[in-house]
Symmetry: C2
Subunit: 358 residues, 2 copies
């Protein structure tokens, strides 16, 4: 068994044991990939102390055998209701966990119906966030892939700074960035490139439009690359030509909040406490109401994963976690400023993975 | 109110009335977009006979106001558990449907807890496939957008036929195709481009690899573009230089199954009956075991939506539906052949939307 998968499964089984579970069903795509290596679109893992099974359909059997050599591949022609009861009985599994935050209400109810009708002794127990919490703390190999993805995004940000000009549309700039990242080795990008200019930059999740970029206005650029399945995430706000006084004041406030947070955040702080550092700086700058999203989020196989850094988040930061620090100020009608870096917690403090100029 | 949204909501309310529901909650992204125009990543619609509300957070308020003018925008700072009970009581809604196939088990259970503790009279009733069934039958405006997306994919297929050559890797070819489609006006593509050569083409959902394409082997190319939110989906299998006897036999069998199905499929057939037409032709060719996926699927805002054409699918085909017809034969070690066209059911028979050479 590959040491990486073995370690991950051992940690998971430890957690299951504490909850009195005989096994767990995993179908959330990133969790499934993390625990098996398989990145097809459909399939269930059934993980138990002495058995790892990956059930998938004929479209994915060859891929599953090659990507998940640590698993017994079970080719299935029906959905999970058809094969789970028999398999659980064969393996003598009585209490099996499932991903409560991923499995739909309808599938859960149908499984219960099938188990009830078959007088199965199998009990389905919802669990939340177990695999997500394991994923939050990265291994060195994962940090390396994220860093490679960050390097591509950094290079793309440098490239667009040198090529963006008044009259270029947001869409054109976004496509230039995406093409650059793909040609530098990124897999399909983890999220659509954001280039939001002038008033559009007041929308934190704006979509690139046909608007022509102008001088002296804020331009928010938010991009990510993907390497080996792992994402990066980077935002910068630029201004072509001379900026107005508002831009200078807003930019300096956001930058102060971002650098201040990077300097202070440390392990054992909660995501809520980290968020509060930036929020206080922005409030003191007079823009408290204008920072309408959380401070950041973990990044890995998913662009948004644990830990969440935002108001009231109880999730504790720890060494090995990779997350964004991205305060922003948004003013309807004028525009917005966001500055986002990817960082890793190491030896008690954060190290910036992104290197793009601020 | 825009006539398009008004018609869609009226049909939905008709269905809710038959089920004795006072309203419905919608959060599945394509359903939400279809019923409101809003395409942000987060938000709930609450649709009731005299009230249409879109609840979303501060990141999306400006976008929601602009994209969903038929809705009252409710800015929310908590999740649905925080605002639903009060709102339902204010609107006197007692039985509200939710998307059973989308809402997670955990969120359902938490909502029930909150409603129970608040002694709310609100009852949550799971419904399945109502909006998806409305979406399956396309309006002329939707068919136009899908046709535009299909035209881009057709042009990309022609382009790659003229540019693919032995020694080019699958990844290189896939990127050439994607770049071509984006530069011809496609939004970010609806699914990753598939270029699978030689033995890799035996995997229906192969990922482009660093393998160099060779002469005389099957190359499956499966691509889609996106216009105005609507996807297209097209597959061709080509062979550079002279093909072997197996290729000729397999290709002709798949093509026969595809053309035969296109000629015969008509309204009121079930998705299972349509699938059976192609399956019988492939079985008669001696490759029954090698057609391991369904015949096709609806295409619209989602790449895979209703109707499902596959073994035992009871979904009835009808005028206005847009779907793929894509039989395939896959032989481990040798490779595969898939031929896929997008069609629309019109006046009792199917019309091919895709025009790429077969």
């Amino acid at each position: 068994m590959s040491p990486k998968i073995k370690t991950r499964i051992a940690k998971l089984l430890g957690e299951l044991g504490e909850k009195g579970l005989d096994g767990i069903l995993i179908s959330q795509p990133e969790n499934r990939r993390y625990l098996s290596g398989f990145d097809g679109s459909t399939g269930f893992l059934l993980i138990a102390p002495d058995k790892n099974i990956l059930a998938t359909d004929s479209r994915y059997i060859i891929q599953a055998k090659s990507q998940a050599p640590d698993y017994e591949i079970l080719p299935v022609t029906s959905d999970i209701g058809g094969w789970l009861p028999g398999l659980a009985s064969e393996l003598n599994i009585k209490r099996v966990g499932f991903e409560g935050e991923y499995l739909t209400f309808s599938l859960y109810r149908r499984l219960c119906d099938i188990l009830g009708k078959g007088k199965s002794v199998l009990k389905l127990i919802p669990v939340e966030g177990i695999v997500e919490s394991l994923r939050a703390v990265k291994e060195p190999g994962e940090i390396k892939l994220i860093s490679q993805a960050a390097e591509i995004a950094d290079a793309a940000m440098d490239y667009i700074r040198g090529n963006i000009h008044p009259g270029m549309t947001e869409k054109e700039a976004a496509w230039e960035i995406e093409k650059f990242m793909r040609e530098k080795g990124s897999q399909p990008v983890p999220f659509d490139v954001i280039v939001a200019s002038g008033p559009n930059s007041a929308l934190p999740h704006a979509q690139p439009s046909a608007r022509a970029i102008q001088k002296a206005e804020p331009i928010v650029i938010d991009i990510g690359a993907r390497v080996g399945g792992y994402a990066s995430d980077l935002s910068r706000t630029i201004c072509l030509g001379d900026s107005d006084e508002t831009f200078k004041k807003v930019y300096d406030t956001v930058l102060g909040a971002q650098l201040g947070t990077i300097a202070i955040v440390k392990p054992e702080m909660s995501g809520g406490e980290a968020d509060q550092i930036a929020r206080v700086i922005i409030e003191e700058g007079g823009y408290g109401e204008a920072f309408g999203h959380g401070l950041g989020h973990g990044v890995g196989l998913a662009t948004h994963e644990k830990p969440r850094l935002g108001p009231n988040s109880p999730e504790e930061l720890a060494d090995g976690m990779v997350f964004t620090i991205e305060p922003g100020i948004y003013i309807e009608g004028w525009g917005g400023v966001r500055i986002e870096d990817l960082v890793v917690m190491e030896a008690g403090k954060v190290r910036e993975i992104s290197k793009a100029k601020k």
